[in-house]
Symmetry: C2
Subunit: 358 residues, 2 copies
């Protein structure tokens, strides 16, 4: 069962929790907005349902509420940021803002981040570039759930990439996707409903492709985009690896199987080579390539042409990346965020820790 | 049947053809090296087998042998290059070289290219960054063969992406892949042998997934990486779109279904919005992020850890992107490039046009 909660009520509650954890007020507001952007855009697995997880990481001392976020290396178009073990929801906007400032000066800005935590959805951060007439890019590594092609070991996170591109009269192009066949959130839905997973989503502990949605919890792994070698899983493996290297090897964060786990009860991997989890952000000023006006005109024509591509039978239209999420947001701003009873209960328990009512 | 031809002999022949077309000597040498890097690396579909296709484009006036390659827009970390309708094999190294020069100054360099032609394999260009202790990125759009998710129309090329990352004691990480489930070259092999294609590679003219390898030539389309919506084809569609937009909407080249076709006998699409085909290149100086020494140490550990990930039964090891191509190159430099009889014949016919013997 689920119930719709108005966005503002959920935002005030989330801010209050972050404030009670000790976050400075500006950070609490920013973090709540970043977290709930997932619920607005229909990515329920990455939104307020994870609030209690962030609180547990703070209780375990893995998240610092008042982090010392610092630039530790830079060039005209690049920087590395040490997130000071802060909330990724706060560290990531700091780093993306820096990328945007670099781009204003040098044409583009690229910021790799160490010593951070989970940052919510990549789209929130990449889209910060759009009002500046810039293309925004955001990616992050995450704890290992994914097996490389031909391996039975979990080595990579679902390592999402977002690219947000401004247009003229049309809404922006916003592609935000995990580099796996299916995101873990979709698998969790199947697990709850005891449904089978499609072939190509997961493998078991021996590395055999299976449809039992519970196999992931029994030593199995998610599969890279492509599913198997014949369908290009080596490409999904390469994409997830690029995200890992840009986010962590460039910054000095942990990579591969050493990335800190999200559940606070899971012990930290031993012999970690870096600090915290890593992100990577980019901003490219459109007019560092051509006039924003000329770009917008062509981008509008690109969108128009693809939206009008002939659909297959049974589909009324071809989508532009970002369409479904924008439709979710428009609906949920009006009608509220649907929360499962189990999520509501979890939020109420989290509120009780700080004497805050939802 | 096939026969091995020593690399040097093939390179001299290819240079002679480009020189006979009117390319300046330096350009002919560069273009031959770029083209044959595909044969060395085992990407037979993109190497010397395409030489006659380039010649036909030159005969049709679509490729200019002595192009006026110009920088038409720039910022400290970016530029747009007009390739002057030159060989992509010459234009792309010019643009990548510019990206490397920008990176030396600004930390990173990003170059979008209009008015170019096919550039061979992306890896050749991206790997130019490696000796400079930089990460190299190369991508290009190409004529439309790929249907977006839920469409029965060909809208995108196979739009490859290459990311080349230097390491320390180990060979570099080099991922170079089409953003489709399978590259067109692999499908052509099945067509020649009259074999069925795996589900998820292609669809027919109505947009139904089929296994008939000939369906592509009967109005069908290649499928984006993922194959269908349930297996993440919207992610492959997004990736191919990002390549198209970075390469062509940022530069003023043609995009989507307007990209010029490779076969010279196929008429140009009508109402083209831009000039030629588009590419996009990037170079990121490692020490714009952290010391090259610290990076190399972590990159070596990354490679070592992934190479030693537990393999599934029946596989003796997990590969690092770039491993298979490097093994091909090492073998073929020693033993020569295997050419099918049909390719040999095609090369001899091309040579005859210019009175050049293979």
């Amino acid at each position: 069962m689920e119930k719709n909660i108005p966005y503002d009520r959920l935002a005030r509650f989330t801010e209050a929790i972050f404030t009670a954890m000790g976050c400075p007020e500006g950070d609490a507001v920013k973090a709540a907005e970043a977290l709930l952007s997932a619920d607005l855009r229909g990515i329920d697995s990455h939104g307020v349902a994870r609030l209690s997880g962030y609180v547990r990481l703070w209780e375990a001392g893995r998240i610092i509420a008042k982090p010392d976020i610092r630039v530790i290396h830079e060039s005209p178009s690049t920087a590395v940021v040490d997130g000071g073990s802060g909330l990724g929801l706060v560290v990531a906007p700091f780093a993306m803002d820096l990328a945007i400032k670099k781009a204003a000066q040098a044409g583009t800005g690229w910021v790799s981040v160490q010593n951070s935590n989970h940052f919510g959805i990549a789209a929130y951060h990449a889209m910060m570039a759009l009002p500046h007439d810039m293309i925004g890019i955001a990616m992050t590594n995450a704890s290992a759930l994914v097996a490389p092609t031909w391996s039975r070991e979990r080595m990579l996170g679902t390592n999402p990439i977002c690219v947000a591109i401004p247009a003229g009269k049309y809404p922006p192009f916003v592609a935000d996707f995990a580099t796996t066949t299916a995101a873990n959130g979709k698998l969790e839905i199947l697990q709850r409903k005891n449904l089978e997973a499609p072939v190509g989503w997961i493998q078991d502990a021996e590395g055999q492709s299976v449809t039992d949605a519970h196999a992931l919890k029994q030593g199995g792994a998610l599969l890279p985009l492509g599913g198997d070698r014949e369908h290009g899983s080596h490409k999904g493996y390469a994409l997830g690896s690029i995200v890992d290297i840009f986010s962590a090897v460039l910054s000095g964060a942990n990579y591969g199987p050493w990335v800190p786990p999200f559940p606070a009860y899971v012990p930290m991997p031993e012999n970690q080579p870096g600090k915290g989890i890593g992100h990577f952000f980019g901003a490219m000023r459109i007019d560092a390539f051509r006039t924003a006006e000329a770009f917008r005109k062509d981008m509008d024509q690109w969108i128009e042409r693809f939206r009008n591509a002939k659909p297959v039978q049974g589909q009324d239209r071809v989508l532009i990346p970002g369409d479904p999420e924008r439709e979710f947001e428009s609906l949920r701003r009006k009608e509220g965020i649907p929360l499962l009873d189990s999520v509501m209960e979890d939020l109420q328990n989290t509120g009780r820790k700080f004497a805050i009512n939802l």
